[in-house]
Symmetry: C2
Subunit: 189 residues, 2 copies
């Protein structure tokens, strides 16, 4: 990356800072270690709430966030909820869309590719017999996901697609991630 | 499931309706087919916005949601964003927490297990060298996820853990999901 020929901000991304961050990480790989965190509290039925604030990265605890992000999840009435928020599998679509978009935009910026607009439409197919436990051959989660992008850019579509595939959430969904679950109980009220 | 001995609502879940839904799906498996959808629009840099409203399920397009859920994602300053929202991999933690919780609560209700409170703390480890493309042996997404539940219930912890594992998002993250991406370009402004 040449800071001589590259403007400092492309697609809203400070590419000078991006280059500096990459150099710093190459000199000290510990700076690349991140830990993200969330706390969730059940409210009632399908309604629960997550707060997200602290994370560890670039060798330290973050101190820039003063307030947590608060996210409600629920189910629509047809899934016996009260629709206080999108449901968990809909949040997966948001995580995937936002990550693919940011990955495309950031990697385009790093390569000097200007992007003017990005929109995506996502669809996920799910057979609820898996969740209900009434069809052992039906998986619990999405069978398939489709993401259709429309991008305003002079770059070739195939190249933009490859840039998007740097997405961490694309990897998390496409490939297995080990999830360790522990449960501690306190007696009922 | 006996509607004679089961109260109609357990843990905020209408178990009579749940039983009726299961019976209906067993009589017509097409009712189990759901399609969830999202639309995302890039705003600037790491900031983008998802709207979620329509979905298909139980043999029809949903008509109960009158307004979309609007979700902003961004990156914190250390990842070159402006922190207008949680970041995409943090939304994965929310999706996982909310889905495991709802799965535990719904399946407990179906089995007549009363739950008084559920809280969970999640951590995900991510090495950002994967995203930056500077270490080919480092994966893009989470290396590991940990979910620690504290549950107020008289049921055994191991049983509650098994109920949570009916979660569709737990399956989506633990196992591969095929993701088809298409990109269409329009010329730059």
């Amino acid at each position: 990356m040449s800071t001589v020929t590259t403007p400092s901000t492309i697609n809203g991304v400070n590419v000078e800072q991006l280059g500096a961050n990459i150099s710093a990480i190459q000199g000290n790989t510990e700076l690349a270690t991140f830990q993200f965190r969330a706390t969730n509290t059940w409210i009632n039925g399908g309604h629960n709430r997550t707060t997200i604030k602290e994370f560890y990265g670039v060798g330290q605890e973050d101190t820039t966030r003063t307030e947590p992000f608060v996210l409600d999840a629920d189910e629509p009435p047809v899934l016996l909820g009260e629709d206080h928020g999108a449901n968990p599998v809909e949040f997966v679509l948001h995580a995937l869309a936002s990550c693919l978009t940011t990955s495309m935009v950031y990697h385009a910026a790093a390569q000097g590719i200007k992007i003017d607009a990005v929109e995506s439409h996502l669809e996920g197919d799910l057979d609820i017999r898996g969740f209900l436990g009434i069809a052992p051959d039906v998986r619990l989660g999405y069978k398939n996901l489709r993401v259709n992008f429309t991008v305003k850019s002079d770059a070739p579509a195939e190249r933009l697609k490859e840039l998007a595939k740097h997405s961490p959430v694309f990897d998390i969904i496409s490939n297995p991630v080990p999830v360790a679950i522990s449960v501690t109980t306190e007696g009922s009220n």
